[in-house]
Symmetry: C2
Subunit: 312 residues, 2 copies
């Protein structure tokens, strides 16, 4: 993995499925390139909003290889590799390191609830030891509303002490600014990078020492979010933040993943994008119409997306 | 799969790991045979207490094949095959059907929370359609305390209507007798089989029309639990139930999986059994000593287990 750390706006790139629910590597690479050309500094592929846990290990590896084969810069990729089963986490992490990814974003094993920090420490430790590669950079993925297995600050302290230079950051998707602030306070002055889990907290995160955000809605609004990242020290920062927060608030009234795919399908004029894998459901025609009308009123655009789809 | 339905006491067989955390097929087959010789009518392998979600898809398939190769009767097996990723569920279910298993016990996809019943219906439907084998018998696995994704009665009704003869039963591990009673009431007179998720509810379940239990502690106390199943119509039934409930209550004061493995290691004189995969932790020496002392006071035994281990 690369010495240069990722910062700025990362998208947990959504994963396209054909109507038969198979993965679509070509459409995937196209979306990845559009994101990188339109404000994303990196791609946290195989995140929650990528439906990563709805993919088999083999599908994840072949999709990552397809991105690399399509000349998506591997140094801008931070694939999700944390699974319930240790052998799966080891396999995916090892694969990402060998390809040269910038880092990996690691969920805790999320089937058992109420597990002790000792067990979570042992999980991350076994993955790191078994991968056994000094290029590995682990970003922890704290998303208790979904995984229901939190990553505590004391667990992070233990991991940093044992694996300095390997455990290098976190995505905080707790939805709780208090937790992000606590992380920033505790790890102030260290090289531990804190990404907010939503652009709603981007400006706050930058002002408090964070390095950016990894956000679902970066899939559709990367330019405006990147603009906040670029201009967070300026006088317009609060106004810019208010605008991306308004867009976010509009989208998150709907089931997020179905909504993101409906938006890409609509603004990209590429209807097959709407498909999700069960247990999720597509947003549906009526809700899509309402959502698009709301976004249009906000002046929302996805520049060049339709042309990018048409080029294929 | 077989026309004959399983009933009685099924164990979600615990999965042995070597000290390096690799799976141990020989020790696994030995435990399976001991369970079937000591009161279990079947084995719900790859359940929650089997650490199934801590195993890769390949490990699950190879362990199942190892059981079959060791002459464990395949008609007494109900492997867990429900995963977060549809391709994994299809692969495991198809594999189980082809081997001739009595049925499969299917978790809902458990990463996303708060998903609509439409999405869960579509998940089970896609698995059934893609496996496309009339021998398939699906038992639904309702375990909201762990999976955090419930299987509602209205979802079951939809599945039964669409897939009669394929969706044939449920394991109710809600821990809520009210839910089990509701299932028994709603599906009374049908061929939908209700297994209690713990022997604590075995007698109540049998008296209300259920078919048995699939219980963690059947891994260590199968004989006494089977005794309740055999004698549930007799006058001693309440006394027998009180005894297995007391044993259960003693064990479940501890973290269940570590405790089960510690018990098998102790009474089977086979120390390597204690190993669990992260994020779980072994029970540890002190707690094991206390637990064993409590069990000894209850007159607890595991007849023939040590000899079975020594034979190898």
């Amino acid at each position: 993995m690369h010495a240069k750390r990722l910062s700025g706006v990362l998208a947990p790139a959504i994963t396209p499925f054909r109507q038969d629910l198979s993965v679509d590597p070509e459409r995937y690479a196209r979306h990845a390139k559009w994101l990188l050309a339109n404000g994303c500094s990196g791609l946290a592929v195989f995140g929650t909003n990528s439906e990563a846990n709805s993919l088999s290990v083999e599908e994840r590896m072949s999709l990552l290889e397809a991105l690399v084969a399509s000349d998506v810069p591997v140094a801008r990729l931070m694939p999700g590799t944390g699974c319930c089963a240790l052998p799966d986490s080891v396999k995916l992490t090892s694969h990402a390191v060998k390809l040269g990814c910038a880092g990996v974003l690691m969920l805790p094993p999320f089937y058992y609830k109420g597990v002790p920090d000792d067990g979570l420490f042992r999980n991350f430790s076994e993955v790191i030891e078994r991968v056994g590669d000094s290029r590995l950079r682990v970003y922890l993925y704290h998303i208790p509303p979904v995984a229901q297995v939190p990553i505590s600050i004391s667990l992070i302290e233990r991991l940093l002490k044992r694996y300095p230079g390997t455990v290098v950051g976190i995505k905080d998707s707790s939805g709780d600014w208090g937790n992000t602030q606590a992380l920033l306070d505790v790890f102030k002055g260290s090289t531990f990078d804190v990404f907010a889990g939503s652009e709603s907290f981007l400006l706050q995160n930058m002002r408090s020492g964070g390095v950016g955000c990894i956000s679902a809605t970066a899939n559709v609004n990367p330019g405006a979010i990147h603009h906040v990242f670029e201009h967070w020290k300026t006088l317009q920062a609060d106004d810019l933040q208010a605008r991306i927060s308004a867009t976010r608030a509009t989208i998150q009234k709907y089931a997020m993943i179905g909504a993101l795919k409906a938006i890409v399908a609509h603004y990209g004029d590429d209807p097959d994008w709407v498909t999700v894998r069960p247990p999720l459901m597509e947003l549906g025609t009526d809700k899509t119409r309402t959502l698009v009308a709301e976004l249009d009123r906000l002046g929302f655009t996805m520049p060049g997306l339709a042309q990018s789809a048409a080029r294929v």
